[in-house]
Symmetry: C2
Subunit: 368 residues, 2 copies
């Protein structure tokens, strides 16, 4: 049986599930590179430990660490977390890990998009990215699961699926000239349909400001249930994100999903603006291949960028008055989940992402 299939998930009856569907596990990398993670990664590693412990309450967690960091990762992480060796360029498993797709007979396979570190040589965030483009393949081989490989340059952080045929994304990311602009929108849509088994694609023009990924949807909006979205929000008309939220709201309020439902939109109020401190910036190695961040660099902070497990939702906290209201809203929308706040999530933001960005859910097979 070939490991890499020549067919597509759509042809084979596979679909991308929604984040609220049952998981068999969760995959993360291990932050290490000292030009992305300040203080040799030690601050971020501490937060990783908290996040892994929180997710492990809900489903099995696997952390992929480099040979150099294997023992440190193994020793810091809780016993119940599985640690395996894997070389990477950085630790954004939502974007570099495989997207697990399901059929109706209990089978699980993986979709492996082409990865270019968020824009390759045209605005990408690090060089090289060869090892990150192999992560999905290595995960699937370790798990003995079949793989689909697409030449679409994409990251799952830029794509939100409802599991029932609808996909939400941004033109700023997938149609960026540093991703797939040259292939054309029709080709991109055909790839999304073929590899994620979706029927309807809702395009927003752009994602949040200060998001370094070229507008990943996962800082702006996400599905909490079929037909229901969370949208990041502010009522402050002077806020740099204000227009973006308004624009997204207008489009989404006038849309229906693949099943023809109007979308119910829950606004979640954003935290105050953040930026790099001088002390933080001095903790970085510089000019070694990663996007340069200096004191005063604006940071994109979003409550949307959480991890939803089977029984927990692991949510970033920013020491902000809006932390608790955000968690209260999530608890209202997901009453059966334990909402776990992560205090030092700022450390992940300094690396350029957030909790959703570093986690890849492995969905459980389903028989229908």
């Amino acid at each position: 049986m070939p490991r890499t299939l020549r067919s597509t998930p759509l042809e084979d009856g596979f679909r991308m599930p929604g984040e609220f569907e049952p998981k068999a596990g969760c995959w993360l990398g291990w932050p290490e590179r000292p030009d992305v993670w300040r203080n040799g990664g030690k601050n971020a590693q501490g937060v990783w430990v908290d996040i892994c412990a929180a997710i492990a309450k809900s489903e099995p967690v696997t952390v992929c660490a480099s040979a150099a960091q294997y023992l440190n990762a193994r020793n810091r992480l809780p016993d119940e977390v599985r640690v395996v060796e894997m070389s990477t360029n950085d630790s954004w498993f939502r974007d570099t890990g495989c997207a697990f797709v399901l059929n109706d007979h209990g089978d699980v396979r993986g979709v492996d998009w082409t990865f270019n570190a968020y824009g390759g040589l045209n605005g990408g965030l690090y060089f090289p990215w060869d090892k990150d483009d192999l992560i999905a393949q290595k995960m699937l081989e370790m798990e003995n699961l079949d793989r689909y490989r697409s030449s679409l340059i994409a990251e799952m952080g830029g794509i939100q699926c409802d599991g029932e045929g609808t996909l939400l994304t941004t033109e700023q990311c997938l149609l960026n000239e540093n991703r797939n602009a040259h292939r054309g929108k029709a080709w991109v849509e055909e790839q999304l349909r073929s590899y994620l088994g979706v029927e309807k694609i809702i395009w927003l023009p752009r994602g949040c400001k200060f998001d370094e990924t070229d507008g990943h949807i996962d800082d702006l909006a996400c599905w909490v249930a079929p037909g229901e979205l969370l949208l990041h929000w502010t009522d402050d008309t002077t806020d740099p994100q204000y227009e973006i939220y308004q624009e997204a709201y207008k489009i989404l309020s006038n849309e229906t999903d693949a099943r023809g439902r109007a979308l119910k939109i829950h606004k979640i109020m954003q935290p105050a603006a953040l930026e790099w401190t001088a002390e933080e910036a001095t903790g970085l190695d510089s000019d070694t291949g990663a996007h340069r961040r200096v004191a005063g660099t604006k940071i994109c902070a979003s409550y949307i960028n959480y991890y939803m497990g089977n029984t927990v939702v692991v949510v970033p906290e920013f020491d902000d008055p809006m932390d608790k209201p955000a968690q209260a809203l999530l608890k209202r929308l997901l009453p059966d989940h334990q909402i776990i706040g992560i205090e030092n999530a700022r450390e992940i933001l300094l690396g350029g992402g957030n909790i959703a960005c570093i986690t890849q859910p492995q969905y459980a097979g389903q028989k229908r």
Copy 2:
């Protein structure tokens, strides 16, 4: 549930199976270091591919390759072989991999001996060996299997179990002052009993000459079935191995196994003596941490050092007149197995071992 158990296999009802028992898979490393494997490992890698392809006919094969060699290993090996990343010091998985033990309820666990590269700083074969001592732990963690860790310095190449309570080994290896001499024979026996679930230990004084491991049993004798042994042999009284074979034969002919059976001994005739050529020796990096091998270095070549799969026996060939008689004997003793000869096995010998040394069988769970 703890990953590393504080109890022992004996206490928990686990035992080491015989090599003829059903396997769920086979694990190998990937040869790479240029001071052990001539010509940058390329010759050995070619043989590895042949061996993996042969074993894959019988059970699933996993090859552990370093980050640097991952793509090369993946591309050279057949599709059906699983390749995962793992850092190692060298590629002797019989000795560094975990020994899989079984209970009667279908469970599989692993025994992780302490490893010191065949003698540590007192005659060991390479330095450092820190990564090799982690291989067993990493294998078990990848497979989500529980682990027993013993402070006995041992390699499974130095130990042969019949799966029915009998263990065959050599004093030269386990009681060597560079292994466990200081702990005493009684302590060593207690460790073997506790961690492999055996009742009777048969000690031979020494293994074959020119075996660099300090007399591993797996070049001299092995179980083909409970109560039946293969013993390497020559009738040439001037041969440097002659006395060793005679000595082993005398001991084994007067022994019984744990069940009280007299041992049936099948003599398998050895190939002609081998040694390093000058051309081979020039293919090595020198003085970089590995035991030094030069033109004229004697090589230990044994037909005993094969891999027994569920349906195949993978046997070294040395371009020697005794190759075919050895295979004919194996076919007679194991008529249901396909005997597969590996033509360039000499390349593994140059690294210091043979087919058994590079393979670690993963036994299938058994319900009794």
